[in-house]
């Protein structure tokens, strides 16, 4: 380098190379072309190798009958449906467990985080032990453990635990009555939606009034009346336009009604309780991250404990909590792919499992699975980033 620098006749290339900025541009260009060349090579290689053994690349199999059955399907499905529909069933099952898991993990996680900060020694230590145990055992073991517990602890259908002869708990699932809606029920639904719309408007109105006059409206109670009360009253006034399909024991299993399968329960509990341990620590960090002087200041202003938490501490803690929380949500969604171990029919088990194996289209199916997880992760990230932006400190 030094030699080049002292040489009086530097050509254009070495001048470009010795300029810090242009050098970094050159290196970036080279790196990017190498990365793409490598990717192109890998893809080319895969295509050539597939062709060498006579397997073309095609998605036509998606429109063939799948020929297998799936026990939990949120949309109409049977063994004559296409592989594409089997994939949709898998996607919906993954989304279902991911959403339920995220909600449950958040609730349990926040409670754990608060308990971990409790001044009560026993509560504090219990939360600590729980978090340390759960965090340090692989999630696959949790899933197998919870599933094993459900299968072995609950009775077989013929000895089902009956709750008022309406709901039955068995190791094949929890069977409960299924509502069958009559046309009049639509009125109740419409009233409920109107209630939601009213509440949305009323909260803003109440906020405005409070900002202008300092006057408080009992927003919560009015909301409860609008969203729950009015539809409930109308429901009974219309003569309860719902009939119930009650499950009954027939042969091997219960038929009729709704069923929640043990695979779903096991996966949901294992995933959310596992993720909750991480969220608990994130919440604790978030709350401890808010300077205690803030709390004292709000007490000094005469704001009570509950309101100082919700108005002063939590909004600031959220800023610390939300970014790592996003990763936990993503982890939970991705960990749901372990479902195949206990037979929960998610994306990996349907299109990435049985369909793949029956059609022999490894490449095509794996591309679908990758793309689906990527899309779902990006959607979660997008929502969380939007939320993060909304709550971040507005600097004036």
């Amino acid at each position: 380098m030094a030699e080049v620098a002292v040489s009086p006749q530097r050509n254009a290339i070495s001048r470009l190379w010795n300029d810090k900025e242009s050098r970094s541009v050159i290196i970036q260009i080279i790196t990017i072309s190498l990365v793409f060349a490598f990717l192109a090579y890998i893809i080319h290689n895969a295509v050539v190798n597939l062709q060498a053994i006579g397997k073309g690349f095609s998605y036509n199999f998606l429109w063939q009958p799948s020929s297998y059955d799936i026990n939990q399907h949120l949309i109409e499905y049977n063994s004559r449906s296409t592989h594409f529909r089997a994939m949709l069933v898998g996607i919906l099952n993954t989304i279902l467990v991911a959403i339920c898991g995220i909600v449950l993990a958040s609730i349990v996680g926040f409670v754990l985080g608060v308990l971990r900060l409790s001044k009560n020694w026993i509560v504090n230590r219990l939360a600590y032990c729980y978090i340390e145990y759960v965090r340090n055992v692989p999630v696959l073991l949790h899933i197998l453990l919870v599933h094993g517990l459900i299968v072995h602890a609950f009775p077989v259908p013929r000895q089902a635990i009956s709750i008022g002869d309406l709901t039955f708990m068995t190791n094949r699932g929890i069977f409960s009555p299924k509502p069958l809606y009559e046309p009049l029920f639509l009125v109740v639904v419409v009233l409920f939606l109107l209630g939601l719309a009213f509440m949305w408007w009323f909260r803003r109105y109440a906020q405005k009034v409070q900002d202008e006059t300092g006057q408080h409206y009992p927003v919560f109670w009015i909301g409860l009346g609008a969203i729950v009360g009015v539809p409930l009253v109308s429901f009974f006034l219309l003569g309860s336009p719902i009939t119930w399909d009650v499950p009954e024991l027939k042969g091997f299993n219960f038929t009729g009604g709704m069923v929640v399968r043990p695979e779903f329960i096991a996966l949901l509990l294992a995933l959310s309780l596992y993720t909750a341990a991480f969220i608990g620590e994130i919440v604790r960090a978030g709350i401890l991250g808010v300077y205690y002087g803030q709390t004292e200041a709000s007490y000094a202003l005469g704001i009570n404990r509950g309101r100082s938490l919700s108005l002063v501490v939590i909004p600031q803690a959220l800023r610390i909590i939300v970014p790592p929380l996003t990763s936990q949500y993503l982890n939970l969604m991705k960990n749901s792919s372990l479902a195949v171990a206990i037979g929960y029919m998610d994306i990996v088990a349907t299109i990435g499992g049985i369909s793949l194996n029956q059609t022999g289209r490894e490449m095509e199916c794996m591309i679908i699975v990758l793309a689906l997880y990527l899309v779902m992760s990006l959607i979660i990230s997008m929502i969380m980033n939007w939320y993060n932006k909304r709550i971040k400190l507005v600097e004036r």
Partner: protein, 340 residues
């Protein structure tokens, strides 16, 4: 920075050179001195490691037979355990040279998955395992049952077809591995466990109380089980094919591991035996091997009857009858093409 660039360039160059064509499997195996054989992750009687960690079983013997023919030593096998889902990928990607894994020959696997099937070495069919206490005697009484299945097999397709054709409903519980499937069945998550009848016998033998479970009489599908190799290497496929045929023919001709040395010492009066022994004709050279290939197979592994008796026959925990798998001369359908 320059250094890391250099490394990147080298990595790319290396990976370009890394892939080679997959034509002559025989040469690859002989150069390696070891046969990579794809087997199940563990199915007692067919392929499972014994207490010393040595792989043993009906399918395993066929792997060993191929190694004996190709490498001269039945111990020179590396077993590649696979689930129902990964087996064909392992074979097609070159991780395994040959597959013996209770695999049903079907048209789609043969033609669409690009496999070449070797002769059938076990005629099987899908059945149901159920608790005696349920009081069910026939597969026609199974409406509404929960059924545990190992995913990635022909089993789940047969099951869907069978229940649909008979207008019955059922709840499938698709489990990744055989072990987890059995755990779910014995935990009473399912009323039934279904797989090939031979697999059911193996499963039943491994349960806590085998006598509390019965295999229903109905067989709902044809499951011709055989080995397989990937498309594109006919010589290698021929080796696999004729090793299996030699094992079956040896039983038919009365050649066993006990008398092979004596019968094959010199050409005798039975030309069929002479051709098997390589004392007449040059069958070995047709598949790229020496003339003693079949003698080594029978010496080190035995004939079909010996393999059957040793691992899955009436005197083993699986207690399977020969049934369809008897020689055609004994009322079965085992009928190997002649070596000539």
């Amino acid at each position: 920075m320059l250094k890391s660039l250099k490394i990147a360039v080298m990595t790319v160059a290396l990976s370009v050179a890394g892939f080679s064509a997959n034509a002559a499997t025989l040469d690859d195996v002989q150069a390696r001195g070891e046969l990579n054989c794809v087997v199940t992750t563990g199915l007692a009687g067919f392929a499972a490691p014994d207490e010393n960690g040595r792989w043993d079983g009906f399918d395993v013997e066929f792997c060993r037979a191929v190694a004996a023919a190709v490498l001269g030593d039945s111990e020179k096998v590396k077993f590649v355990p696979s689930t129902g889902k990964t087996r064909f990928t392992l074979l097609n990607s070159g991780e395994g040279d040959i597959l013996f894994r209770n695999t049903t020959e079907t048209m789609s696997r043969d033609a669409d998955l690009k496999l070449t099937f070797l002769p059938i070495n076990y005629y099987d069919g899908q059945g149901f395992l159920i608790r005696k206490a349920m009081g069910i005697n026939s597969a026609s009484e199974l409406d509404g049952a929960s059924v545990c299945i190992q995913t990635g097999t022909t089993t789940e397709l047969n099951l869907a077809d069978y229940f649909r054709a008979n207008g019955m409903s059922y709840e499938p519980v698709n489990i990744e591995t055989n072990e987890e499937g059995i755990a779910n069945y014995s935990g009473n998550r399912c009323d039934l466990y279904t797989t090939d009848a031979s697999g059911l016998a193996s499963t039943r033998a491994a349960l806590d109380d085998p006598s509390a479970h019965v295999i229903l009489p109905e067989i709902i599908s044809k499951e011709p089980l055989g080995g397989a190799v990937r498309h594109g290497d006919d010589q290698w496929a021929d080796i696999g094919k004729w090793v299996v045929n030699a094992i079956i023919n040896a039983e038919e001709l009365g050649v066993s591991s006990a008398n092979v040395g004596e019968l094959c010492a010199a050409a005798g009066n039975n030309p069929s035996i002479n051709r098997l022994c390589g004392t007449e004709g040059d069958a070995g050279s047709w598949i790229g091997l020496d003339s003693n290939w079949a003698v080594r197979v029978i010496e080190q592994v035995g004939n079909y009857g010996e393999i059957f008796e040793r691992h899955i026959g009436p005197n083993t925990p699986l207690a399977l009858e020969r049934g369809l798998n008897a020689q055609w001369t004994d009322g079965g359908i085992l009928y190997a093409a002649p070596i000539r």
